[in-house]
């Protein structure tokens, strides 16, 4: 089972990724953008956490992300350990227009560094870049209706420098994204994929006693879909745009 090279041209492995962050920072939107290249109000009631998968093609290998998108409400935070357990990577998201969300993000970073698998790859992501006036104008506004995107009050409240300095201090990957425009979204996941050490991909996932990680070749695995029974489109589409 461990030998995957026989069936696939490129080695392929799954990577468990968990999204953490304050409610409404855009976790689910980021995942939706990454998995379906779409942005829409979240119609899916998330109980506990939503599960989605997406592949990411790297030059040398394929990474299949198994994504746990944790629920938004504050009290569900007690459940988070259940989801970040054994995660090899994490996306800690804050909302650039809301400083308190960065505080929360720092908390999650500390929590992961202390409680999650050692060696977990953490990316700090400031989302809703499209709401910040000062960002580069070349942001491709993919949605035609950009009207409500630039409200006057919603301006950047967390500076790039501040977040970046913190990320460097804690050795985190750092990106500023917009789930709405798609800016930098796939870059985050690619960067995580690249940062996952080869070694942690080969064998079974961290801490597993006996079993082995079935390597799945690219493209055929379309059955991995959202946890919720109804109303979900198949989540696993073509490989991401990386």
């Amino acid at each position: 089972m461990t030998d995957s090279t026989a069936s696939a041209p490129k080695p392929s492995s799954s990577v468990k990724l968990v999204l953490l962050g304050e409610a409404a920072v855009g976790k689910s939107s980021l995942v939706l953008r990454f998995v379906n290249n779409d942005f829409q109000p979240n119609k899916e009631p998330t109980i506990g956490a939503a599960f989605l998968t997406q592949k990411c093609q790297l030059p040398s290998r394929t990474i299949k992300f198994e994504i746990w998108d944790t629920a938004g409400q504050e009290r569900f935070a007690s459940l988070a350990p259940m989801y970040y357990r054994n995660a090899q990577s994490a996306l800690v998201v804050y909302d650039m227009t809301k400083p308190s969300s960065l505080v929360k993000a720092k908390h999650w970073v500390a929590e992961l560094q202390r409680q999650a698998s050692p060696g977990i790859v953490i990316a700090l992501v400031g989302n809703k870049l499209d709401l910040c006036d000062d960002d580069d104008p070349e942001d491709e506004a993919q949605d035609g209706e950009n009207a409500e995107g630039h409200e006057e009050e919603a301006v950047r409240k967390v500076s790039t420098a501040e977040a970046k300095a913190y990320a460097e201090e804690e050795s985190l990957l750092f990106y500023e994204t917009s789930a709405k425009t798609g800016h930098n979204v796939s870059e985050v996941f690619t960067a995580i994929a690249n940062a996952i050490p080869e070694t942690s991909l080969k064998g079974p996932r961290t801490g597993a006693g006996g079993g082995t990680q079935a390597a799945i070749s690219g493209g055929q695995d379309t059955s991995r879909v959202n946890l919720n029974a109804r109303g979900a489109d198949g989540a696993a589409k073509e490989g991401c745009a990386c």
């Binding site: 799954s14 468990k16 409404a24 109000p41 979240n42 119609k43 899916e44 009631p45 998330t46 109980i47 506990g48 956490a49 599960f51 998968t53 198994e66 746990w68 629920a71 938004g72 409400q73 504050e74 009290r75 569900f76 935070a77 007690s78 459940l79 988070a80 350990p81 259940m82 989801y83 357990r85 054994n86 505080v103 929360k104 720092k106 908390h107 500390a110 929590e111 202390r114 409680q115 079974p204 996932r205 801490g207 597993a208 006693g209 006996g210 079993g211 082995t212 990680q213 079935a214 059955s223 991995r224 879909v225 946890l227 919720n228 029974a229 109804r230 109303g231």
Partner: protein
């Protein structure tokens, strides 16, 4: 974590025999009989089992003539005469237990006993296998208000038999207007001694009389049940609404959104009409809604799935929410009205989820549906603010609303959250996590191979199963199947969720064994859920087998194969895992909380923050426990007159508020009021402990109660003084300084502190180690109007606070800063050093006052009139007061300043302060000439002045440099007494007692102590007590200090008398132990005398008070107790 340790330890140490019974039950985990009774019959928490008796229920079978023949339908009307008499031996017989509570008469074939003599395990027998009947078994749960008549049957036998006629509150109809069939008479034969029977009947009569008042209520409640409408017509006849007979159609009850937007599923395929016919028949024979009798067919009809129009009503009935609605029929409407227009966090959160609650159902694409959902969730969030709103409730309520009116849904939601899914939706969701643990352990037990496979592949089962439980399968299975699970769930209880969950895994076992990661695991189950409606045996030759759906097969596995999973199993597993789950949550909550305490918190170490967190929540938790115990005692007393106490005492636990305040359970409060704040400080700073505890000794000290019955009697005599108890920790002092500190920490002026407030308040003191910062911090405490000035009054209060803070000694200079606990009794060197330091401090404060006035700036004379009080006299008093009494209080200060006459002498003030070596530290200055002392000219000092004065004086400087900060004992140097909050001390060596070398206090009145004003905080100062408080752990040194204090005071007095002026040094002969002792005694007496005379403020003894001093010696507790009681009156 430590909170749970604490509870465990407390349990070890508490001797149940000596504590108020309610306290014991509050800490036990076994539910009381009342709770078991309520659970069995799904009754509201105000019902208690009053009487019970073995009985045989006989139900009539219908006469052959009126058997179901569709041809006779038009004329059918059911009246009492259509029934065979049950008593003649025909009919169906059930033997079981008949129970009477305040408002209900219940009968169940599941034999369990709730009488006081029965063991709790006998009472909980019903949690075993119920064979599909649910916990209440066959029988009935009859509100007494639904009983129309009870007759004593005089049958041929000598037996005691009752015939009960029930009544739904509706007329059975007239000749022109058909009514609903009358429910059958119930014949009950009581089996017991004549006396028992009579007693039961007397109780019944009383209850029935009371019940009359409820009849109107019941009519209104029943009118909302579909069965009331349904039963008025013959099933196959035209529907009553469509009848064109001129009679106003009966009110059609609201049967949920389904009646408007269609019920899910194909009703033909669900065979809805056949089911309705069967129910019609069943209810004709067995009554409806409140009067329904449960026979085996009832349970069978539920198992096959409820029909759309009756589903809601049956959910209400089987969950018991109907009885809750009967109890408080207006609660829903009134709650909404009361909070109309208000806002809350819960409401914001609800609003976000309204559009994603079963969005695929048409009803929730409409304003009507969304509005109902909003109102039900909002109303519940107001009735239970601790839970508020939790995601997943939206889905559950949305599902309920398809079959229930919004009012009904509200009560079902209450039953769900409060009884069926305890803790699921709480702020920590501990119930959810706990049941996931329970589920995992059941999987491990029943499917070890699968379990091995899962853990081998590192798949965590609960990430998959959690949504099943949290949203009752509604979001996992197609709706029609989820509703069928709900049908059984409401009847049989939470164990159903586990049985179904286990069955799902069992049925998919093979495929799951191939899944090696979360993704594969999830997709196996998802595709299974999608196929629930398909044939389980599609390839079978037998068409009957082919007709069996996956869902039916699942139900068979759930209830046959996992029949052994009973409510008892679940309870057992829950209590097994509870501690671990709570610990996990609490350590997570603690980490989270500590990381989110704001920037100020960075000044404190993680250890200190952890320490503060623990103390903060321990105090809140303990205070709530105590309040609850007191409340329970009150309740018990109130009820005791009506019922035998033994039946009631156990009623505390589980009556809606089992354990409160524990972080893991979702703390019911996260803020500390002033009293809690005092209690908190008393655990971290010695000065915050009172010198005059209101309760003489610890209630939990076994030696105390064994050796001193007298004491224990006082405890018993006042078991429930609501304001008294300070728990097992030291009793806090009351002092103006504490109030100022509280006010300063209470930044948002809400009269309560969050943990963040406490941390932010302490951080500048503890964290900065910055003398300038501490000086201005202190100054600002007294700068009432923030104008950078502290007036005469403030100066005096400052000085007084300094004395208050130092009355147990000033702690660790910056240089050594030894852990105070390690500066132990044995170290004489340390003791000596401390002693002299304390003295220095006393003199420093006195010279501080003097110099304050020397350097004070005059105000622009404007408030002369207000400053009539004699400033100098104040100062004199102040010294006398503060030095003489360790707990000098502001009230007394104020009182003394107005009462002291015209003594005008500044000699005390001009006494130079000395340091330990007898050197004169500062020049004596005459202050007589200082204009600042003229009371008629208001003065103030500014921060720079204050700073200068502090820095110019070594003891004060050192106090602000380190002493003040060190007086707060956090993690690195905890107060030995702070551990008092831990019940380890309950057994304790700590017994207060133990100061054998304090000589007896002679009861003689000292002469020259008129300048002494009685103890603050509490007028009564038991001398031994006050001293012990003051001495902390260095008894002898402390005595010397006190002696010194006293001597100075006397001297000051003498000098006042003499009118003498300055004198030289005289304070350095203090190592004369004997003399010190004598003076000490005088002083102490003086205190006591004054105290008695002075204020009359005395607090009730606390239940569990534990004095601060922790001396390892034992044995003198008796003496202690006697002494204490002396001052008790």
């Amino acid at each position: 974590m430590f909170l749970s340790n604490l509870v465990q330890k407390a349990q070890q140490y508490i001797d149940p025999a000596v504590l108020p019974a309610s306290l014991v039950t509050a800490t036990t985990t076994k539910p009381s009989k009342s709770v078991l009774f309520q659970q069995q019959f799904h009754l509201p928490s105000n019902q208690n089992p009053l009487y019970e008796i073995t009985a045989e229920l006989t139900l009539p079978t219908r006469k052959a003539s009126s058997s179901k023949s569709p041809s006779s339908k038009q004329q059918q009307r059911w009246g009492p005469n259509d029934w065979d008499k049950g008593a003649d031996g025909k009919g169906t017989h059930y033997v079981g237990q008949l129970h009477l509570s305040e408002q209900y008469l219940c009968f169940s074939t599941v034999n369990s006993s709730f009488v006081s003599t029965a063991s709790t395990s006998a009472s909980s027998a019903f949690t075993g296998r119920t064979h599909g009947t649910g916990t209440a078994g066959n029988g009935f749960t009859l509100p007494l208000c639904a009983v129309r008549r009870v007759e004593r049957l005089h049958t041929q036998s000598y037996m005691f038999a009752l015939s009960i006629t029930t009544w739904n509150g509706f007329d059975p109809g007239t000749d022109t207007k058909p009514g609903a069939p009358a429910p059958p008479k119930l014949t009950i034969q009581l089996e017991g001694s004549r006396q028992q029977c009579e007693r039961f009947c007397d109780g019944l009569k009383r209850g029935l009389r009371q019940g009359i008042r409820e009849v109107e209520n019941m009519r209104a409640v029943a009118a909302e049940c579909y069965s009331e409408y349904f039963m008025y017509s013959d099933f196959d006849g035209p529907s009553p609404t469509t009848k064109a007979d001129g009679v106003t159609p009966r009110h059609l009850p609201d049967t949920g959104l389904g009646s408007i937007f269609k019920y899910p599923g194909n009703s033909r395929k669900l065979r809805d009409r056949s089911k309705m016919r069967l129910w019609h028949e069943y209810m004709r024979e067995n009554g409806r809604n409140t009067t329904l009798v449960r026979q085996p067919d009832f349970h069978r009809l539920i198992r096959v799935g409820l029909p759309n129009l009756l589903r809601g009503e049956m959910w209400e009935l089987t969950s018991g929410s109907l009885y809750l609605r009967l109890q408080k029929p207006k609660l829903y409407g009134e709650t909404l009205k009361k909070h109309e227009g208000e806002e809350s966090l819960a409401i914001d959160e609800i609003e976000k989820d309204l559009n994603r609650s079963l969005p695929e159902y048409a009803g929730f694409q409409s304003e009507d549906g969304i509005g109902r959902l909003r109102r039900v969730l909002t109303a519940y969030s107001w009735t239970n603010v601790d839970v508020g709103y939790c995601q997943a409730m939206n889905i559950v309520v949305a599902a309920l609303l398809i079959y229930l009116s919004e009012t009904q849904a509200f009560y079902v939601l209450s039953i769900l959250c409060d009884r069926l899914l305890p803790g699921y939706y709480s702020t920590t969701m501990y119930g959810t996590l706990l049941d996931q643990k329970v589920f995992e352990s059941l999987v491990e037990k029943t499917m070890p191979v699968l379990w091995e496979h899962l853990s081998g592949n590192d798949v965590q089962l609960s990430v998959v199963s959690l949504p099943w439980f949290l949203s009752l399968y509604i979001n996992s299975m197609p709706l029609i199947f989820a509703f069928r699970v709900l049908d059984v769930f409401f009847l049989e209880g939470p164990k159903v969720l586990f049985q179904v969950g286990l069955a799902i895994l069992r049925v998919n076992g093979e495929e799951l064994l191939d899944a090696t990661d979360d993704g594969a695991f999830i997709s196996v189950l998802k595709s299974y859920f999608a196929r629930l409606g398909e044939s389980a045996h599609p390839k079978s030759e037998n068409p009957k087998h082919r007709a069996i759906t996956n869902f039916q097969a699942l139900m068979v596995v759930a209830f046959k194969e996992f029949d052994g999973i009973t409510q008892h199993t679940i309870s057992e597993q829950r209590s097994k895992h509870k501690a671990a789950v709570l610990e996990n949550i609490e350590s997570f909550a603690k980490r989270t909380s500590i990381r989110n305490l704001g920037p100020e918190s960075k000044k404190l170490s993680t250890n200190d923050l952890g320490f503060l967190y623990d103390r903060f929540y321990t105090i809140l938790y303990e205070r709530q426990q105590r309040a609850q115990v007191l409340q329970a005692d009150e309740d018990r007393k109130r009820k005791a007159s009506r019922q035998r106490a033994t039946e009631i005492v156990t009623g505390v636990h589980g009556n809606g508020a089992p354990e409160m305040g524990r972080v893991g359970l979702g703390p019911s409060t996260t803020e500390m009021d002033y009293d809690a704040f005092r209690e908190f400080l008393a655990g971290v700073a010695k000065w915050a402990v009172t010198d005059s505890p209101s309760s003489p000794t610890s209630a939990n000290d076994p030696s105390a109660h064994k050796s001193a019955n007298g004491y224990f009697h006082t405890l018993r005599a006042k078991p429930s003084q609501p304001s008294s108890p300070w728990g097992i920790g030291p009793e806090p002092a009351e002092h103006e300084f504490l109030r100022r500190l509280f006010k300063r920490w209470d930044k948002e002026v809400k009269s309560s502190l969050t943990l963040q407030d406490v941390v932010a308040g302490l951080a500048p003191i503890k964290g900065g180690r910055d003398i300038m910062g501490n000086i201005s911090y202190f100054f600002e405490l007294y700068d009432n109007d923030n104008d950078g000035k502290v007036d005469r009054e403030g100066i005096l209060r400052m000085s007084e606070a300094l004395l208050f803070l130092s009355r147990r000694g000033v702690e660790g200079g910056g240089l050594l800063s030894p852990s105070p606990s390690s500066a132990s009794i044995s170290e004489h060197e340390e003791g000596k050093r401390r002693e002299t330091k304390d003295e220095q401090f006393l003199s420093a404060v006195s010279s501080f006052i003097r110099r304050c006035f020397e350097y004070a700036d005059p105000d622009h004379a404007s408030r002369k009139a207000e400053m009539e009080a004699n400033g100098v006299a104040q100062q004199v008093d102040l010294l006398g007061l503060s030095n003489g009494d360790e707990s000098a209080g502001s009230d007394q200060l104020a009182a003394s300043s107005s009462s002291t006459g015209d003594v005008k002498d500044d000699s005390v003030l001009s006494r130079p302060s000395t340091n330990a070596f007898g050197q004169v530290q500062t020049k004596a200055r005459h202050v007589a000439a200082n204009a600042a002392l003229d009371p008629s000219s208001p003065v103030h000092i500014t921060l720079p002045t204050f700073r200068m004065l502090v820095l110019a004086d070594e003891p004060l400087e050192s106090f602000f440099d380190s002493g003040f900060a060190n007086s707060f004992h956090l993690a690195d140097a905890p107060l030995p007494s702070s551990t008092i909050t831990s019940p380890t001390f309950l057994g304790g060596s700590s017994s207060t007692a133990s100061l054998p070398n304090i000589p007896d206090i002679p009861a003689m009145s000292p002469g020259g102590s008129s300048g002494v004003v009685g103890g603050a905080g509490a007028g009564v100062v038991p001398p031994g007590k006050g001293l012990r408080g003051m001495l902390d752990n260095i008894v002898t040194d402390g005595m010397r200090v006190a002696a010194e204090v006293r001597r100075r005071m006397d001297e000051a007095q003498k000098e006042l008398d003499k009118g003498a002026s300055t004198r030289g040094t005289e304070d350095d002969d203090d190592d004369d132990g004997d003399e010190g002792g004598r003076d000490l005694l005088e002083g102490a007496e003086a205190d006591a005398g004054e105290g008695r005379r002075g204020t009359g403020v005395s607090r009730e003894p606390s239940l569990l008070d534990q004095p601060l001093v922790e001396e390892p010696k034992q044995g003198s507790s008796k003496e202690e107790v006697e002494k204490s009681t002396m001052f008790e009156r």
